[in-house]
Symmetry: C2
């Protein structure tokens, strides 16, 4: 036979790259629109129309094509579609820190909302790194149709410049005054005010604030609100203690708290509050008998601690959901609606009580 000898290194022509070992059943590499069209004896255009449910294809032809597609278990390539359509059906979320319960819940809310609209979610973590965050945002945005940027650490002028390239964009926990970028944030000041009022009603006059990380914008909000609210009353004393955002930070600050003589502690967040409670307990102080403690966030555990924590609750999930709503509106070409500042809800539990009667 002339078959032998005519093949130096097996370099035949077409070889539709079936990726090595022929497996049982359908070929390895996913079927393409071209192969389906060929198998069904129609043009690629027709297959495309059928797959997209275009009504301009005769019903019987459509059925046949569908049958062939089914048999080859063909699914249009999302990547190719994305290129052709100029849209990816994907949105991105960028957060500073995936370990933070706040962002975990935002992620969940966003993912679920996007999912019900047939969109996928790309997630990236900036690790609190400003330079990386900007790069990441641009990159992620180009892989998707829109972007949710949570608690961005990017300085305002830069963010303003960036916002054009990132649109459709929704900001979380960060505002950009005078811009059209929709922004969802938490009214930390309002939360602090509610806490302060609660504490004041309980008779507290000497307060200690366990501050969060220096770069945190939301910590700044809290401080400002705290000073403003507490300063209205001249008989009051406020001590600000550098602390942090973790349990251990709060724990370590307990001694300093005692040193201030405060009768109530306002912690940056729930974790810090737990740490503080734990530390105070070890120092022999009773909460709330000797000293009251408040948190912020209402993380899931806040109701299960001993004593349950008085805190300001913020609807983290809802933040994610609404971010999607805004983004969806933007993707639809419409306006995104006005900015929203979520009002924290004060949850009075058992970590706060009347100020001890001064001796």
């Amino acid at each position: 036979m002339s078959l032998t000898g005519k093949r130096p290194t097996g370099s035949d022509r077409p070889v539709p790259r079936t990726s090595g070992r022929g497996r049982t059943g359908a070929d390895r590499a996913p079927a393409t629109i071209g192969r389906v069209a060929e198998a069904a004896g129609v043009s690629r255009a027709t297959v495309s129309r059928v797959m997209n449910g275009s009504p301009t294809v005769a019903p019987d032809l459509a059925a046949r094509v569908r049958a062939v597609a089914e048999a080859m278990d063909y699914q249009p390539s999302p990547v190719a579609r994305s290129l052709a359509l100029g849209r990816t059906s994907t949105v991105s979320l960028i957060v500073p820190d995936l370990a933070n319960p706040m962002f975990q819940d935002v992620l969940r809310g966003l993912s679920q909302a996007a999912g019900t609209y047939g969109h996928r979610l790309l997630v990236a973590e900036s690790n609190e790194n400003v330079a990386e965050e900007a790069i990441l945002a641009v990159e992620a945005r180009r892989r998707s149709d829109g972007l949710v940027l949570a608690s961005s650490r990017v300085p305002e002028p830069e963010l303003r410049a960036l916002s054009e390239r990132l649109a459709p964009l929704v900001l979380l926990n960060r505002e950009l005054p005078g811009s059209t970028v929709p922004s969802l944030s938490v009214d930390y000041a309002a939360g602090i005010n509610a806490i302060v009022e609660h504490l004041r009603e309980l008779g507290h006059r000497r307060l200690a604030y366990l501050a969060g990380p220096p770069a945190s914008a939301s910590d700044r909000d809290r401080r400002v609100a705290l000073r403003a609210a507490w300063a209205t009353d001249p008989g009051c004393q406020l001590s600000e203690l550098d602390c942090g955002s973790t349990f251990d930070d709060g724990h370590a600050a307990a001694r300093a708290v005692v040193g201030t003589g405060a009768t109530a502690v306002v912690a940056f967040n729930d974790m810090v509050a737990f740490g503080a409670m734990s530390g105070l307990h070890e120092l022999g102080l009773a909460v709330p008998g000797d000293i009251s403690v408040t948190g912020f966030d209402d993380i899931p555990f806040a109701r299960y601690t001993n004593p349950p924590l008085t805190t300001a609750s913020i609807p983290r999930n809802e933040l994610g959901r609404q971010a999607w709503d805004r983004l969806w509106a933007l993707l639809d070409g419409g306006p995104a609606g006005h900015n929203v500042r979520f009002q924290p809800r004060l949850l009075v539990r058992e970590s706060t009580g009347p100020a001890p009667t001064s001796d």
Copy 2:
């Protein structure tokens, strides 16, 4: 001029769709390789080569092209690249429930590991829905280069069939015997054994198990191990109580636990253990004085409860990291290495103590 009148509805030809309002500076729509090539007076091929650092371009030309690209702030379209290269630099993660701390940590570990290798992460939640999970997995996989499937609820035969289409695939907390799919899982049996041994040393003889969700494979593992370990000792009694996976489930089961007369409670996970502790406390029982309680998972809060929880710790983050390692090996064409079963580490804290001396 013959220019007028020859334009019925403004239908000129090219119209490079600059998307309406001309903004200041660079044009709205991102620059394309074609426009850069044109501006630089070279072919698209050359621009492509420059952007990819090909050494076959003369240095001065490369510099010029780079300058032009910079000026137009051109970035190659990831979508187009994905199509051309047949790879997306993205991997997907599918989890049953984003609210579960376990998966949150896996997500984080995976995201960080993938990030350092220049890959992005697509996340989807199956909501514990088997049918949806399969669809989601296929869809997600086609948008990315590989897939991590966590605690899949898909029945074995179906999963086996699916695994071909999903490769490169890494399974988390789920094994597929006899398959080549790498699998990372937790040796729940070993964890249970450690707990049992600890309890036995403390003199406990009557045990109550607060079982997890019925569909959970890891719950099955625990039950089996528990029966095996406890049955070796004829003087021991084991009561299995249907419960669930949440704090409230555990809380609700407290009364039933008391009914069994058990001196120690093995809870499905930490949350259930917390709930049980809380419920037992309300019923007037002291932990561990009257009854010991153990958890499973070592969620961050386990060390902060009152009393701190004795539990079996599993390296959730590490699971994510290693999932990436396996996936990366697979993407590289190599073998993924053998399956791993992580050994939980028993953390003895203060929720367990000697069995009360029987009356």
